[in-house]
Amino acid sequence: MEATLKSDLHAKDTHAPAKSAIFWRPTAQTGLISWLTTVDHKKIGFLYGVFALFFFLVGGVEALLIRLQLMYPNGTVLTAQQYNTMFTMHGTTMIFLAVMPLSAAFFNFIMPLQIGARDVAFPRLNAFSLWTFVAGAIIVNLGWFMHDGAPDGGWVGYSPLTSKSYTPDHSIDMWVMGLQLLGVASIAASLNFIVTIINLRAPGMTMMRLPVFTWMTLITAFLIVLSFPFITIALVELMMDRLFGTNFFEVSNGGMPILWQHLFWVFGHPEVYILILPAMGIVSEILPTFSRKPLFGYPIVVFSGASIGFLGFSVWSHHMFTTGMGTMATAAFSLATMAIAVPTGVKIFNWIGTLWGGHISMRTPMMFALGFVWMFMIGGFSGVMHSAAPADAQQQDSYFVIAHFHYVLIGGSLFALLAGIHYWFPLMFGRKVSEFWGKLSFWVIFAGFNITFFPMHFLGLNGMPRRTFTYDANLGWNAANFIATIGALILGVGIFIYFAVMVYTFLKGEKVAKDVWDARTLEWSLPNPPPEYNYRVIPTVHARDAYWYNKQHKEEIAQEEAEHAKAEAAHGGIHMPHQSIYPFVASLGLLIAAVGIAVVDHDPSPGFWGKKIGLSMIGGVVMLAGIYFWALEGNEGYHLHLDDEGHAPADKNAAKH
């Protein structure tokens, strides 16, 4: 009975007057239009993944150029300015355009399936998040094709270097507007995920039965919603300084550069956990599946995730130990940072506890997940070293920091995301990557990663500052830099193998039956790839590791499902949201407006207001039009009636009430 909750909610829609006569209802299932108008969380997740991987490769090329420049002392591969652009764009790209959207791809694709929902709470808002993310990514990268060049203020964009006095060209404006749009996209998506997880859980899916990945999605979404406003404020202030001559950061007028750092890191530190918590969630799914045991200490893993989220807001100034905060503040942030090591350590203990006594099958996803635990542990330890403020005074802004955060971001986040791709690939596409190629790519990536970043600890302790385009041969940095570059090339080869194999598998890989890993969570009860409507019958959850329980109680579950199917059919079938172009239109408007603000020349002649304001206004009108049409077209949706084999009728309109 509870299973029909969702249909009940929407039942009234079927009696509402049809608005389709006025508004275009795209129904294309294939082709460009279908992708631009899709509201299916799986398609949106797929697109997030594709864009993220594209930018991941772009960021990777930037990284390789950086390493080539530093391979030998006094390198000449890049000029100073090109190098500064590379590391700025590498950081910005990897964080905002690769790791975050790749996490978002999993949030979108997997989370609704894990909680037994048919889509996210606001499908069109989801599409809007995707396209706004794409708009932001375009603007951040626009500089590559322009005279002013791409941004070169560092990914932290410290004022006053980014103010008009020291970077007069448009590169920083593009960075500012790009990040603003990415923030809009992230906040919109996160609100969507929060509402989805709280409201659309299948009957019986209590909070303490949520799969850990979904829990981490929820915590990450809260972190995004609470932390992005800070960078939004900082970026607005910077934009006001740059466009209208306000005085937030302009030193010559009494501005306070340190204000930027506080605002940036109040966002920036939770951001670190935004990057790592989804990864922890993925690993907390993979380890139990391949150990064939439930997660050890589920409640503690969940609570430690939440406490990492809370504490993550109280440690931002450990990025600023060298800014002269005084003894008391330094001590407080030092201790708070150490405290965060406790819940983090707890997670590692519990992952080991999960392995203990299990039947571990060393499949590719498991290899990446175990690689994650090892590498994240090393990154965590160097993190503890940073928390000791006196030691950090030597490590801050040196290659030691570079080593640390690449261990948590590549060895941590990225390994887990690569594990997740391998793990859920059979579910997403019905094909499985060959074990040989998967493991080969793992070992090459693992070796390349460590050869690149382990020597950087020594480089940092030996006094090499980060963000430097050249160094002299007499400082003792030659060998470590050379080895790091060789490692980076190996890492590049590993990543290439990984993706080449992934593309091959997508097209021609071995087809597999459902639930190929004998997994534990609900998404694996679906056929692969999952149908548009996900669940033919909304499942009822009886235990944590719901699908594992279902597999142990096949008969009762089958009976229960048959009853629920009947009840749902009586309520009008499977209710589905309509496709819509308007979220895309709204994002397009944002793109145009942001281009107007960021790129159109700041020309003091009267023409300037005409041009700059003009393009921004056009963008604003397009965006408002998109939003209004989106609101007015309504969310009536349609119903699917499946035949006995589970096939939906070919013509959607015929199915409409």
Binding site: G297, T322, Q395, A479
Partner: protein
């Protein structure tokens, strides 16, 4: 079959790589980067502040190493011991579906907290110790103001006042008395920089509109490498400096020399201006400007720079002095006593007595000095002097350059 042939070829390539690596090691390449004893090492320290920071670092190292061995050991053991070796084992009846053990969890949480306390105590001590000069040594403290510019450092000595001009001012080479605490007040004029001399003390940021400071002490006389540690624009990587610690007597001599006006070279009658060195060669982008001779004994090299060079061409120096005014160098640089009073560039009153140029980037010799004034933008991308050449249409002939070099080198 394809698979196995690939495996063999992988193995072959692996062997080839291994052989190449071994060859590289044997051929005498210096691969022992773990020694960490470079000029900017934070491990081979030379003063109490850096030592205190290093001690805290070692505590964190040992504690985390022990935890790593314990936790890593258990992780490795569990991964190997409970691994399903065959497909049959994988498909066997699943193990007991246990959900965890609260007692183990609590115990481990307690142990983690304990380990952090071990780190926290020296951390707190270190924070207070490294923050400011200890009370009992305050009276003995020497005070200096360091100001960051894009991309060089200005050093002012408030206790060495010069009548009519104010505090003694130098650039890019900070000379301090050894064995005494030195309190460095750090300031910035344009963007954020960071003052870092790894062997003496951890960094403190130089932030505009903010009065930061740090303290450091060199135990013995010595020559130390420093570098800006906060990204500050195009030439951040080449914004370096030196700290030279001298014995009390040497320091007093140095102060006496520095507080006197610029050295005057009287032209010898009948001497004609003639360059005494080869014409400028072309330099590669980012080419190093440091010789081994200097690098092996930098303090001696610095000391040698304190005395006038033998056989200066006095006529050339006089010509250079005139050019320094004629080419408007004076509007940015100060040469006390020679009528040059610009303040936006480094003070050059005793430039000839410095061991490095262009913010610690290149050695101070005739060749490198000419390289610098010939095309400052090529040495240090985006710097003000290059822009100044363009804005003021300053063009130097090779003869001009040679004369200017001779003049600047004479300023001991």
């Amino acid at each position: 079959m394809r698979l196995s042939s690939l495996l063999t070829s992988t193995a072959r390539w692996g062997r080839a790589g291994f052989a190449l690596g071994a060859l590289a090691l044997l051929s005498g390449c210096d691969y022992n980067f773990w020694r960490m004893d470079g000029h900017q090492s934070t491990i081979t320290v030379a003063g109490p502040v850096a030592r205190s920071q290093l001690e805290v670092f070692y505590v964190t190292c040992w504690v985390t190493l022990v935890i790593f061995i314990l936790v890593g050991g258990v992780l490795a053991y569990a991964s190997l011991k409970f691994r399903a070796k065959t497909e049959a084992e994988e498909k066997a009846v699943p193990p007991e579906q246990g959900h965890g053990n609260p007692l183990i969890e609590l115990g481990l949480i307690g142990a983690s907290v304990l380990a952090l306390v071990i780190i926290a105590i020296p951390t707190l001590k270190g924070i207070w110790y490294t923050y400011d000069v200890p009370e009992e040594r305050k009276a003995d403290t020497y005070e200096i103001t360091a100001t960051g510019y894009q991309w060089w450092f200005k050093f002012e000595y408030p206790s060495e006042q010069i009548a009519g001009t104010g505090a003694l001012t130098t650039g890019n080479e900070l000379v301090i008395p050894a064995g005494r605490p030195v309190r460095v007040n750090v300031r910035a004029i344009d963007v954020i920089h960071s003052f870092w001399v790894p062997k003496l003390a951890g960094k403190v940021d130089m932030i505009p509109n903010r009065g930061n400071f740090l303290w450091l002490q060199a135990d013995e006389p010595g020559y130390f490498w420093g570098q800006c540690a906060e990204y500050c624009g195009d030439s951040h990587a080449v914004m370096r400096f030196r700290v030279i610690a001298l014995s009390p007597k040497d320091f007093a001599d140095w102060v006496a020399q520095q507080t006197s006006p610029a050295r005057n070279v009287t032209p010898k009658p009948g001497e004609s201006p003639k360059a005494q060195f080869a014409s400028l060669r072309t330099f590669k982008q980012n080419e190093t400007g440091i010789t081994d001779k200097y690098d092996i004994a930098p303090l001696e090299a610095w000391k040698a720079k304190q005395f006038p060079e033998k056989g200066e061409n006095t006529a050339l120096v006089a010509q250079g002095k005139a050019l320094f005014a004629a080419k408007t160098c004076v509007s940015c640089h100060e040469i006390r006593g020679h009528g040059a009073a610009g303040i936006s560039g480094p003070n050059l009153t005793h430039i000839g007595a410095r061991s490095t140029l262009a913010a610690g980037l290149i050695e101070n010799n005739t060749e490198q000095l000419q390289r610098w004034i010939h095309d400052p933008g090529a040495v240090k991308p985006g710097n003000k002097m290059a822009k100044g050449y363009l804005d003021n249409n300053i063009k130097l002939t090779p003869e001009d350059e040679v004369a200017l070099v001779a003049y600047l080198q004479s300023l001991k």
